[in-house]
């Protein structure tokens, strides 16, 4: 009985991850978006830890620990500092057509499941049904990056996409080798810092973080 219960727990967390991806899609407040990102990281870490416990893959514990440190604590903290120093803490973005975006999102989820089903059936892992959810949250984050007009939410979309990818790695394969996971984590961290530097440069130049200013270079 032990293992199926744990598998169900992972499924619940997977559903939670997907739900957060949808919540991000419709969330207007920057501050809430960062909270959602931290929660998504927490769900990811919890599911990784459960998979580690039920399968005895010790390196997944490190991976879970890394996720907590990086995605629940460090990156949200950096983002908090950033929005404080950029004075965009209480920013509210006007999003048009939330219902349409949601409907496109549902379409993406169906597409992701259709794509992942044949592969999931091949998997011998405990958590195989979650591969579709992982792909769906990657695609939803992608959609979020497309519809957002401000720089900070776009970057949050990018980080959420990375969360989805990590979830794909743990759900389909019991995690990548540790060297690779460490490397990816380092890239994400450095990337976040560079985004931070960028925000200041963009602000300095355009007095705003609206990326509509960044659509001048086009083919005429």
């Amino acid at each position: 009985m032990g293992i199926p219960l744990l598998a169900q727990l992972v499924n619940v967390l997977a559903a939670f991850l997907l739900l957060i991806a949808f919540a991000m899609l419709s969330q207007r407040r920057v501050l809430t978006l960062i909270k959602l990102l931290a929660w998504q990281g927490a769900a990811l870490a919890a599911s990784t830890a459960i998979v580690a416990w039920s399968t005895g893959q010790t390196h997944l514990y490190y991976s879970a620990l890394l996720t907590v440190l990086l995605k629940v604590i460090l990156i949200p903290w950096v983002l908090h500092r950033l929005i404080d120093r950029l004075f965009v803490r209480w920013d509210i973005e006007t999003l048009i057509n939330i219902p349409t975006t949601m409907l496109i999102g549902i379409g993406l989820v169906i597409f992701a499941f259709a794509l992942a089903t044949p592969i999931s059936q091949m998997a011998t892992t405990l958590t195989r049904s979650t591969l579709g959810i992982a792909l769906a949250s990657v695609l939803l984050s992608f959609l979020m990056m497309i519809v957002r007009q401000k720089a900070v939410p776009q970057v949050i979309g990018f980080l959420a996409m990375e969360n989805g990818l990590f979830f794909a790695a743990t759900s389909a394969t019991y995690g990548m080798p540790l060297v690779v996971e460490l490397g990816v984590a380092l890239d994400v961290l450095v990337g976040t810092f560079i985004f931070g530097i960028f925000f200041f440069h963009i602000r300095e130049r355009f007095d705003s973080l609206d990326i509509r200013h960044l659509e001048k270079l086009k083919e005429d």
Binding site: I119, M122, T173, P177, V190, E215
Partner: protein
């Protein structure tokens, strides 16, 4: 051991220049470190020519078990790096162009500083990141682990993004933002592809470190699950293809090339695109083993042909000189992707030769273009005139470089393009008209624009600091030699590499 030296030198260079990159002698230090890397790469090449493929740290290496730190390190590094004829020629090319570009960058960046476009602090960032960028590219090439390959590729994006925005103008910030977002999102797809590849490999090789090692994957490629691998290849091609600049994923490329400093445009075009294509070709070899050639080859030929045609037609509409040559890079990456997609010994040979000559020619062109636009004070082609009067050598360099890149004999680009075309006529005759039309359009557009820039009338003054001419003419001379006569050891080398990937 040579592998470790090749990788360590640029890393040490990055550290040193992070400390001293703002000093007056930093450009010389940058060039020295690049030269040392080039020497080490030459040594490595010599080792591979005499000894064949090697994996580092190999099985025979046994660490002292009593020293825990050493033993762990040895365990982590076991079989993580390898060199075979395919990647060693790219390592040599990368180190060589990295060195010549560092030579070119010496007077170029000093002039930029004189013009007040960069200050000492930004030069420190520039020099340090230049070395780090070289390191990430060499790591991409030498890594045996496809996961680390991804990490290094993302590292290459991260290290160049702040260089593209070095001038902090609105346009350069926009270009860098676009570059960062598009390449990161693209590479995220490649990571998903890598996860799928691992998923398939794990079943055959078992979980753990070895399932992502290319040498192991290559041995069992016939047993990998075809459905998973086909999906993985789509993600890998889209992901790394963004970095190669394949149409329709090429949007970041012209902007990043046009707005960044010219030495960076030269290494982006000449080296980074090659390294990304290398990742695609490595993935293709694995997928071909599981699926047969048609699937991956068809996709690559489609993307390649689309890039060639679209880029050729965009060429004629450009006003900015660096943008125009960026589109020319898209076109040539398309030709290479098409050649590797066709597969077979001749096409793969042509693809490898084209990688070499394009990288040398295009960086030489960017060197001349950089000096020309610096002297004219603009990158707008309508305002650059009479190069032959202000700096004749640069003018001739630009003419010769353009003729070489347009595929005129006796330059090497002609040889490789001719081989691609004849193979296409034999095996995929439907594609030949597209290729020929695109090459013709590209010829007309580039030649029509370069001619008045070089021979027109001008009132512009000569720059006080002369350009670095050695890199330009060294590159063009090699391309010329490769067009007339490819040395037998190089032929053998390309053949071995082509056999690996064909």
């Amino acid at each position: 051991m040579e592998i470790a030296i090749v990788l360590c030198l640029p890393l040490i260079g990055a550290l040193l220049l992070a400390l001293a990159g703002h000093r007056g002698w930093a450009p010389e230090l940058n060039a020295t470190m690049s030269f040392a890397t080039f020497l080490a790469a030459t040594l490595l090449t010599a080792r591979v020519i005499s000894g064949g493929t090697m994996v580092w740290l190999g099985e025979q290496f046994v660490a002292d078990q009593s020293n825990v730190l050493l033993a762990t390190l040895a365990g982590l590094l076991r079989e993580q790096f390898f060199v075979d004829p395919f990647n060693v020629f790219l390592v040599a090319l990368t180190a060589f162009v990295g060195f010549t570009t560092a030579l070119f960058s010496r007077p170029y960046m000093r002039t930029e500083q004189d013009h007040g476009r960069v200050n000492a602090k930004r030069l420190r960032l520039y020099h340090s990141m230049y070395q780090l960028f070289t390191f990430t590219m060499l790591l991409c090439l030498l890594s045996n682990n496809v996961g680390v390959l991804w990490v290094a590729m993302e590292g290459a994006t991260l290290s160049t993004v702040l260089l593209v925005s070095l001038y902090r103008t609105p346009a350069s910030l926009e270009a860098a933002w676009k570059y960062f977002i598009l390449c990161s999102v693209g590479l995220a797809q490649a990571l998903f592809g890598t996860i799928l590849l691992y998923f398939a490999a794990e079943k055959v090789l078992g979980p753990g470190g070895t399932s992502l090692l290319w040498t192991h994957l290559h041995q069992v490629r016939g047993q990998l699950e075809p459905t998973v691998l086909s999906l993985a290849f789509v993600f890998l091609l889209v992901g790394y293809g963004t970095k190669v600049g394949l149409v329709p994923l090429h949007n970041w490329l012209p902007d990043a090339h046009a707005e960044g400093p010219t030495p960076i445009s030269a290494v982006l075009s000449g080296l980074l695109l090659n390294v990304a294509l290398y990742a695609v070709v490595r993935s293709k070899v694995l997928v071909d083993g599981a699926l047969g050639r048609n699937f991956s080859g068809g996709l690559m030929m489609g993307f390649g042909l689309l890039s060639v045609v679209v880029a050729a037609f965009f060429l004629s509409r450009q006003r900015d000189i660096k943008r125009m040559f960026a589109y020319s890079s898209v076109e040539h990456m398309g030709i290479m992707t098409f050649a590797f997609g066709m597969g077979g010994a001749v096409a793969a040979f042509a693809g490898l030769l084209h990688m070499t000559v394009h990288s040398l020619t295009k960086s030489a062109i960017f060197f001349t273009v950089g000096h020309a636009s610096q002297a004219a004070g603009t990158q707008n082609m309508d305002s650059i005139r009479g190069l032959i009067q202000t700096s004749p050598t640069i003018g001739w360099g630009l003419v010769l470089g353009s003729l070489a890149i347009l595929g005129l004999p006796p330059f090497g680009v002609f040889t490789s393009e001719f081989m691609v075309l004849t193979t296409a006529m034999h095996e995929h005759s439907w594609a030949t008209p597209f290729l020929l039309v695109a090459l013709g359009v590209a010829f007309a557009s580039i030649f029509g624009k370069v001619q008045p820039m070089v021979f027109g009338e001008t009132t512009a003054q000569r720059l006080p600091r002369g350009p670095a001419l050695v890199p330009v003419f060294a590159h063009l001379a090699i391309v010329l030699v490769l067009g007339v006569y490819v040395p037998p050891y190089l032929v053998g080398w390309y053949r071995q590499a082509a056999a690996l990937i064909g």
